[in-house]
Symmetry: C2
Subunit: 598 residues, 2 copies
């Protein structure tokens, strides 16, 4: 085997040779994807990251052929040879190199390989934990190669746009200060400062605003962020954020800037033209029509609140709900009457119950009349009134949700997605972008018995609403914006408060005293007082964007070395126990019993 590569240099990748190269002498290197022997001739599919080339070892080079007999799948080899046209009938038009073979004159085995624990191809059926343990082999599979390269192309495209528009890539610290707000921090004990801890950033929010105070005007960064959350299906303890902040702008400036970025991404990555400006929807309309602030607008099935119709009806479940401050919403699943069996309807009922609903009421409209136990409760007149309002026709099913506003929106929005899927209304090749605007600035926190910031306390209120901040806090809208793609929030941000008098007002509204402000936000509030320009920003989740573009189910498929839902790396074994000496140096003790799970 060869250790010194000095005299062997690749001339081509395995993805480029065509009939234009016939008779050229070439030198290829790569992995053995497959070896076949046919009557004394060895055919090898040689693979590198660019593609596959078929190489042929025959009687013209008996030494090479003999060496070729020893190679196995995933061996690493180098071959010298001449490009030849494939015999008629052997041509494969499905791959770029399918017109040619390379007839080998010399071969070197660069490395051998054990038999991999699973096949390195698109059809692997290995369990995910095996693939994660041997991630370095999983990464050789065409799909993961493509995903990781696409992710590189995404961040490249983003950077090109940001630089072309005068944004400066500035690094912010990873070893920061723990803040009591937000999600749980990952902590890093300090050795030099006994008893103290750094926190890994959940986002560089304060630093990017300080860069605006510092006069950089346009900042961006593609940066790892950390949240020690209980990992839901598709979260990672470390995730990648595109972080952006601009000065001397208002909401529409940043929306316009970002639309340019997103349109470029779609063009560069998917070769799709995106229409600008993107549609917008106000938060309250999104909640009414979709029950969610990240609506999938690829299909209709709009929800409708029918409180005014049912508040005085005989059906106690509906009327009491309204009287107790709840809501009743309906959705017309067009055509579901024929599409859904009794079993499907039962499953939908179980689904919403699993989400917290009491049950799933519905009206099925048949050719020969209404089928629903509701009719006798609502009365025929109201039933038909509702059907009319919901534009119900024969073959439709109208579903209802009643109860607390948040719960109804949760269950009905999830039900809507389920219905869209079941009715085949969702086109996976369609990309619907929508800006969600005019989020509320404040929400009532029942635990703390005070108002809390929906985004964060530095988000600016809309100018026309500032006057209502005391008289009608709930009505105050924020200069915040989320960008939603096919029902996923891919980015969100806001114009920030840049005036210290408004910031002070905001803190008071949140019920914070002088001491508390100082302790929680001290240096940051000081910074605002030294000439802070109007500014705002946005952040995007790169993992999510990459997985949507790659068409994968999980963000793990667009991360080279992802962690499991238990936040472990099955390949390296992280996290792991460490030497007692290491802990001692950090002034900490392990204390397994401290927080026993119940």
């Amino acid at each position: 085997m060869l250790t010194n590569m000095a005299d062997w240099r690749r001339t081509h990748s395995c993805g480029v040779l065509t009939d234009k190269n016939i008779d050229e002498e070439v030198l290829l290197m790569g992995w053995v994807q497959r070896r076949r022997d046919h009557g004394g001739v060895i055919f090898i599919d040689l693979r590198d990251r660019e593609g596959i080339t078929q190489i042929v070892l025959n009687e013209s080079a008996p030494v090479a052929r003999e060496t070729g007999e020893s190679v196995r799948n995933e061996y690493v080899i180098a071959v010298k040879g001449k490009v030849a046209a494939r015999p008629d009938g052997m041509v494969n038009l499905n791959i770029k190199t399918g017109m040619i073979d390379v007839i080998v004159s010399e071969i070197k085995i660069l490395n051998n390989a054990l038999t991999p624990p699973f096949m390195i191809d698109e059809h692997t059926d290995a369990a995910e934990d095996v693939r994660l343990k041997y991630r370095y082999l999983d990464l050789r599979r065409p799909q993961l190669q493509k995903n990781i390269m696409m992710r590189n192309n995404i961040t490249k495209s983003i950077r090109e746009y940001m630089w072309a528009n005068g944004f400066i890539d500035i690094e912010t610290p990873f070893l920061g200060k723990s803040t009591p707000e937000g999600a749980r921090d990952y902590l890093v004990p300090s050795r030099v400062n006994a008893g103290k801890f750094y926190a890994l950033p959940q986002s560089p929010q304060q630093f990017k605003q300080l860069l605006m105070v510092g006069g950089f005007e346009r900042y961006f960064q593609i940066v790892k962020c950390f949240r020690d959350e209980d990992l839901r299906a598709d979260r990672q303890p470390e995730f990648t954020q595109l972080d952006i902040e601009m000065s001397f702008i208002d909401r529409n400036d940043i929306i316009d800037m970002i639309e340019g970025l997103i349109a470029k991404l779609f063009k560069d990555i998917l070769d799709k033209d995106v229409q600008r400006p993107f549609p917008t929807i106000m938060y309250k309309d999104a909640m009414e029509l979709y029950g969610h602030d990240a609506p999938d607008t690829r299909f209709g099935l709009h929800l409708k609140t029918i409180n005014n119709m049912v508040e005085n009806c005989q059906f106690k479940v509906f009327s009491d709900t309204v009287k107790n401050g709840g809501i009743v919403k309906a959705v017309n699943a067009k055509g579901a009457g024929k599409a859904f069996s009794r079993k499907v309807l039962d499953e939908l009922g179980e689904y919403v119950v699993s989400l917290g609903a009491k049950g799933l009421a519905y009206i099925k409209i048949n050719d020969d009349g209404i089928q629903s136990p509701l009719v006798k409760n609502l009365g025929e007149e109201l039933t038909y009134e509702i059907i009319k309002v919901m534009e119900g026709q024969s073959g439709d099913i109208i579903f209802f949700g009643a109860g607390d506003e948040n719960l109804v929106n949760l269950t009905m929005s999830k039900l809507r997605l389920k219905l869209g899927n079941l009715l085949g209304l969702i086109n996976p090749k369609q990309y619907n972008l929508v800006w969600v605007l005019e989020f509320p600035l404040l929400e009532w926190s029942p635990e703390d018995k005070r108002y809390a910031a929906v985004h964060h306390p530095f988000t600016a209120p809309m100018d026309e609403d500032i006057a209502n901040i005391d008289s009608n806090p709930k009505s105050v809208r924020a200069k915040a914006y989320d960008l939603v793609l096919n029902g996923s929030e891919i980015g969100g941000g806001s114009i920030r408060i840049h005036r210290s008098d408004i910031q002070q007002k905001m803190f008071e509204r949140l019920g914070l005293g002088e001491e508390e402000i100082k302790e929680k936000f001290g240096y940051f509030v000081d910074a605002l007082k030294y000439g802070t320009p109007p500014h705002g920003g946005i952040a995007f989740g790169i993992d999510r964007i990459a997985s949507i573009f790659a068409g994968t189910e999980s963000i793990r498929d667009v991360i080279a070395f992802p962690k499991t839902q238990k936040a472990t790396d099955l390949m390296s074994g992280a996290p792991d126990y460490v030497e007692p000496k290491q802990l001692k140096e950090l002034y900490i003790k392990s204390d397994i019993s401290a927080n026993k799970p119940v």
Copy 2:
């Protein structure tokens, strides 16, 4: 004050208007650098990140002028006005906008500002701790603005090159596994995996090699790395690394690739042409001539080992040193005889003593003979022989170092730098690049009584030396390379071992048993067995490169939010104490007494 920017949009930055724009209506936004009143006319230097424009508020817009009276330094303002030629005699050719004024018609104060704790200009004499506390103000100073923007240009230039050459930007994990080798890790306690810890990466070394195993062939990343070291003068706990790895190459391929990168950087950032190929020096020659493996080659003053001349001389200090296995080295400080006073010579003596030397012997060559107490020890004949070998002439001083090899090289290399400075031999505008090659693979570890890897145990030996790995371990050279710029190692790397048989041999040579290999390097060694291509890589310190290019003394001047030598952030107060609840969730206890400093 304005909160809604919607109707005010910048037309230009403060750095672009010239006499070509005369009579144009413009809208500028920025900070008040300076305000002067002259006979009822207000002149304001308006600053943004692009530059400064002088704006004039006069009787043509009395309302604006009145508003202008209230602005102070660092206020943020927006002005509408018309570009006008400056009156003769007021033109300032030192700045691009020095030909024009903007005669203001309307002004808006976007924000006011407290008086900054120091002047926002190039001449600040504020102490560094004050500047670090108010980093957001320090960042407004022209020098830091320039540095941070240059750093952005550096990473932009690097990325362009890497992408143009087929490298893929791939992110590696921050939450990894602690390894007993190398520097001290920063640890991150795991909440989900009680009692276990992640470690922040000291470098993505194993991951980048695994990406080669995974078939990506060309990887790069600009990534934060972490070392919990006792901070020397110019280290940061977190630092930024350009990390590169390539497959199917040998040493000269990567050297060639990197020279292209460095040449582009010099062209893009400093507009300098760098000659290729870069000079190379073998490790053993670097140690002989410079006493250091990162030589500053901008000046001569080569060291010379004179063991063979002094091993039998009468001067016991020299001859005993040689007999005890030490070395004697000399350097001829040309022209120092006239340049150095007695006081300077005393200071040099104190300097080398502070580094561990016993003293500083020298021979001063005057017009009228030799001046040195050494003469009577060495004898005239040997003295003149040494002078001849060292090419001593009247006016020179020859300095000597004797003792343990490492100590002599340390003291003489530092002395050489001092001499170069004192004699004015170092041109700060000159950039000398040199590759240092053929590092030893192994070094004897007296503590462990075994050989240790000079780089790391995955560095490949040179092919022609593999056979000597048992018979003469010290003589085995590594396929390692450092790139040195003006005496600073800016990058270093190696060709890696890709064959598991050689890796096994290497481990044996390092005295590791099967169990130890498995425990320390388990999954990584496994990975090598599944078809690993020949590969190698390099890593560069971005902070150091940026500081050399920016001509700053400290890397803190090229980092937006640096930490102090005590690893603290004076602005945010990180690290800090955290809530007991946070520690409990992480299964740790603070234990301040664990590691009391002595």
